[in-house]
């Protein structure tokens, strides 16, 4: 990559808040069944930060992300993005859904899928071509451009969804367990891709995962959620050097410590432990 990386040094530590989640509560009202998925979540994400969210299955991670994305109305509390209350999907946001396969348009080819949001953003044609090409190359799918999503494996479909988000050049990137369906090697590559894009574009990333190693490796901060009804169990600052790579970073003693700490927290969350309030 030829562009100068905007690393931590270039980014002020006390960054302005990009995203402010205040007292978020979400109760699903079904027929005769109400589920309190999220009870009370408050946290802040600075501009250009990469924050990981971990929590047990069913903790409401997807619910949280959908509220932030403006796809779901919260029951109480609010989400403030760049100083404005979120009431619908804001401009400059991309989401990689957990159900990646269902988020691709089956009647479009891979390239058309990646290109559509750019057309909507009125990106000029030549620029569009370049962005699509680069994004597909970045996820290793330039060969599959003309295939339809159903002709690809689950992991490849996931990468198309990621390429679409990347080509869009968002300010805010929300990813919901995006690497769940890819093999270990691809996963490592994609993790590095997310890190390098984050550095290059200065995008704010909120990354949901159930993989503790991944959360510590990627994030500058890891927010651990309790089990449902959900509150923040603890925010762990990942004080690892900003230049990370799969081998050295993962073998640092500090990495093991942080990993162990988050692991313990998640175990506590699973057993129903909640912070004393």
């Amino acid at each position: 990559m030829t562009t100068t990386p905007i690393g931590a040094a270039a980014r002020p530590e006390t960054a302005t808040a990009m995203l402010d989640v205040r007292g978020l509560k979400k109760v699903y009202e079904g027929r005769g069944r109400t589920v309190e998925a999220v009870r009370d979540l408050t946290f802040t994400v600075g501009s250009g930060e990469l924050v990981c969210i971990v929590g047990p299955s069913g903790a409401g991670k997807t619910t949280l992300l959908r509220c932030i994305a403006g796809l779901l109305d919260c029951t109480s509390g609010e989400v403030v993005l760049e100083g404005e209350k979120v009431t619908g999907p804001p401009p400059g946001m991309a989401v990689v859904f957990q159900e990646y396969g269902r988020s691709l348009f089956p009647w479009m080819t891979v390239r058309q899928n990646v290109e559509l949001p750019l057309k909507e953003k009125k990106v000029p044609k030549a620029e569009r071509r370049r962005l699509v090409q680069e994004a597909l190359e970045a996820v290793g799918l330039s060969e599959a451009q003309d295939a339809h999503p159903f002709q690809l494996s689950g992991g490849m479909q996931q990468r198309v969804a990621i390429a679409r988000a990347v080509a869009y050049e968002p300010h805010l990137l929300l990813m919901d367990e995006p690497f769940a369906a890819v093999d270990a090697q691809t996963r490592a590559d994609l993790e590095d891709l997310v890190r390098s894009l984050w550095k290059r574009l200065g995008v704010t990333v909120l990354f949901v995962t159930h993989d503790i190693d991944e959360a510590v490796y990627l994030g500058r901060r890891v927010i651990v959620l309790s089990s449902s009804p959900t509150v923040v169990l603890e925010e762990v600052t990942v004080d690892l050097p900003d230049e990370r790579d799969q081998l050295t970073t993962r073998s640092l003693p500090r990495f093991a410590e942080l990993r162990g700490h988050v692991y313990e927290l998640v175990q506590q969350a699973k057993s129903g432990h909640r912070p004393a309030s």
Binding site: P89, P91, R102, F105, P106, W107, L116, F150
Partner: protein
């Protein structure tokens, strides 16, 4: 399966039926069941000495206009109703009522309003064809994937692109199913409306033959209708295969996976 074998299987039953008809009526002296050989013999002179342009083409033109109008109307209304819960709640009972009315009974009523000209026949065809298209479109629009809708919202697709790239494309398999049903209904209504009151058309001609006891000619009319049906459904299939190739592929991959 190789192509030759496929064609052989495809044609086996029709050929058998024709052979049976041929054999059963071969020595027939029954006035109403003339030998198939005789019917086939009169086919050419009955239809290709002026009647094709005088009767078949006007019939087809009315069918085409009525059918296309019904598809446009059905898809338009169906999309609106499928996208809006309020509209659905308001209209569903009414739709059920209108759908339950067999369109041929509308012919005498429409004759009062629209006379016995082309307008009446086109209206009859529209009134019958619109329902399967409309109801299938509503279903198709409602069944759109939730995640796909969310995706379109996140990337802020504008109304127009959302309509084209998400709603219509997504509902297109169901729309096609409705349009296929509508096609056969359209052919039936084309004939019926011409039998009531007309001065040309295939249905009119068949009735004329029957009234003048030109029985072999009457039979050729029925064969003509069958042929029209086959040709139109073939055209339909070709168009459908082109537009919905993704859907065929998707379904095949799901079956294998």
């Amino acid at each position: 399966m190789d192509a030759g074998r496929k064609i052989l299987l495809l044609l086996a039953v029709p050929v058998l039926l024709i052979a049976a008809w041929w054999a059963a009526t071969a020595g027939s002296t029954n006035f109403f069941w003339p030998p198939l050989a005789q019917i086939a013999g009169t086919f050419g002179e009955t239809w290709f000495t002026g009647r094709f342009t005088a009767d078949v083409l006007p019939s087809l033109a009315r069918l085409l206009v009525g059918y296309l109008a019904a598809v446009v109307l059905g898809v338009g209304l169906g999309t609106a109703i499928g996208s809006s819960r309020t509209l659905r709640g308001l209209l569903e009972p009414v739709l059920e009522f209108f759908r339950a009315i067999p369109s041929p009974v509308l012919v005498p009523i429409l004759m009062l309003f629209a006379g016995i000209g082309n307008e009446m026949k086109v209206l009859v065809i529209v009134s019958g064809c619109v329902w399967p298209v409309l109801l299938n479109t509503v279903e198709g629009v409602r069944a759109l994937d939730e995640v796909l809708r969310d995706t379109a919202r996140c990337y802020r697709l504008r109304r127009r692109s959302r309509l084209i790239h998400l709603v219509l494309r997504g509902a297109s398999p169901q729309i096609a199913a409705g349009a296929r049903q509508a096609l056969s209904i359209g052919i039936i209504l084309m004939v019926i409306s011409e039998m009531f009151a007309a001065s040309n058309g295939v249905g009119f001609t068949i009735i004329q033959f029957q009234r003048s006891f030109a029985i072999p000619q009457m039979w050729t009319g029925i064969i003509m209708l069958g042929l029209i049906g086959i040709v139109l459904s073939l055209i339909f299939r070709v168009v459908e295969a082109r537009l919905l190739s993704w859907y065929t592929g998707l379904r095949m991959s799901q079956r294998e996976g």
